[in-house]
């Protein structure tokens, strides 16, 4: 797989949110406005890039048995760094993202990529994979936020849109709208997506809890996601 393909797969074919259905919590919570979505996407991408590079560099050092706790500590360290940077340079974003910024630690995309990709591949490939996945995450967040903000609040990036501002459907920016728009987007991907990823592409091993869960929870989600072909 060459570099370009490696980058592009995260955008569409294996989009972490719309195809792999990882990281649903931040997707639903921070897609109320475009600015928030882009901020969240950027923060998660930075963490993903750093963690993928370091985990890939240390893949021969970290013993297999304790790898998950090691990954979590590394990721938590990077999340804390990003948290401090956002607090210092973008205090407004920090306020609007609130609890979801520290919760990047438990974002499945980051642990998932560490498990699926970074611990098997070279540093450069892992970095490209992280950029692709991060861009895919940001793209999905941006799409959701664009729909929710345009029709829910009648604005785009805070700029008022002439007709929609008087006829906005405010429920779309509230909690039910998040679920609804996300459902519609996944349905659209199912309908128009040409490539149906095979189950082995992102089977249970992509889930950080795969070793222990015995398909109690995460397995079912992914099975459903693939049952649609």
């Amino acid at each position: 797989m060459n570099t370009a393909q490696n980058f592009a797969k995260g955008l569409i074919k294996e989009n972490p949110v719309l195809v792999l259905v990882l990281g649903t919590c931040p997707t639903l919570a921070t897609s109320t406005s475009v600015i928030n979505a882009l901020g969240m996407g950027a923060a998660a991408t930075v963490v993903l890039l750093c963690s993928n590079i370091v985990i890939s560099a240390l893949r021969k050092v970290i013993p297999d048995k304790v790898r998950i706790p090691c990954y979590i500590v590394l990721i938590a360290g990077f999340v804390t760094m990003v948290q401090m940077l956002v607090k210092a340079f973008a205090p407004d974003l920090d306020k609007s993202l609130g609890i979801y910024l520290p919760l990047i630690v438990v974002n499945c995309i980051i642990l998932g990529r560490a498990e699926m990709f970074a611990n098997k591949n070279k540093v450069f490939d892992s970095a490209i994979d992280a950029l692709g996945m991060g861009a895919g995450f940001t793209l999905a967040l941006f799409l959701m936020a664009a729909i929710r903000e345009t029709f829910g609040a009648g604005t785009f990036c805070g700029i008022e849109i002439p007709v929609l501002i008087d006829n906005h459907i405010s429920i779309l920016t509230m909690a039910p709208g998040g679920f609804f728009v996300f459902g519609l987007l996944i349905a659209a991907v199912n309908k128009f997506g040409k490539h149906k990823p095979k189950k082995k592409d992102f089977g249970c091993e992509g889930c950080p809890q795969a070793a222990s869960c015995g398909k109690t929870g995460c397995g079912e989600i992914k099975e459903e996601a693939t049952e649609n072909d």
Partner: protein
């Protein structure tokens, strides 16, 4: 006392962790297919939330705050929760095997559940006292339980219906979750007025 009741009720109904704060969506979508697994998962979540708050709250107040180590919150909390869940699992396995059998499979799933880390951080952010923090954790756990049980009922009626092909599976589940979440919007404002 009134404040505790308000905290409890608003954690269950208004700021419901799943349906209005979007925390713990993965187990909500994954384990809600059957009522018994939904119940088992929720009881395990309530249990871990209470334990995690009981452990992380004193750590923040007596260890991190006096030493100006507040910035280590995220790292410390996730490690404490992960270790705690492991410990609980080992103890249950050794002393209460029957309980381990029914809750055991759900415990490892909870370690990286954002609802648990979320509730411990929110308790600190909101500046609750220890008692208030515990009540908030209990309320959040109960809210998760309520959402899971209601949603497993909703899903059982979806099962086997004639659904357009592209909506089968996850999309229709999310749309159903939207409608369930809509019903919780109706609680907004009720609890403040109840005690006004």
């Amino acid at each position: 006392m009134t404040k505790l009741i308000i905290i409890l009720l608003s954690a269950v109904f208004i700021n419901n962790y799943v349906l209005s704060r979007f925390l713990g969506i993965c187990p909500f979508l994954g384990v809600s297919k059957k009522l018994d697994s939904a119940t088992g998962m929720s009881i395990a979540v309530i249990f871990v939330m209470l334990m995690a708050t009981a452990v992380t709250y004193p750590i923040q107040i007596f260890l991190l705050n006096p030493n100006d180590l507040g910035y280590l919150q995220t790292i410390v909390f996730i490690l404490v929760i992960a270790a705690l869940v492991q410990l609980v699992e080992i103890i249950l396995k050794r002393y209460i095997p029957s309980l381990h059998k029914s809750l055991g499979v759900y415990l490892p799933l909870i370690t990286t559940n954002c609802a648990v880390l979320g509730v411990t951080i929110l308790n600190i952010d909101e500046g609750y006292s220890f008692l208030e923090a515990m009540v908030n954790s209990l309320g959040s756990g109960l809210g998760f339980f309520l959402a899971m049980v209601i949603f497993s009922g909703v899903r059982s009626t979806i099962e086997g219906r004639d659904i357009p092909k592209s909506f089968q599976g996850l999309p229709i589940t999310l749309v159903a979750a939207a409608i369930t979440s809509l019903s919780f919007l109706g609680f907004g404002g009720i609890i403040e007025n109840l005690f006004a």
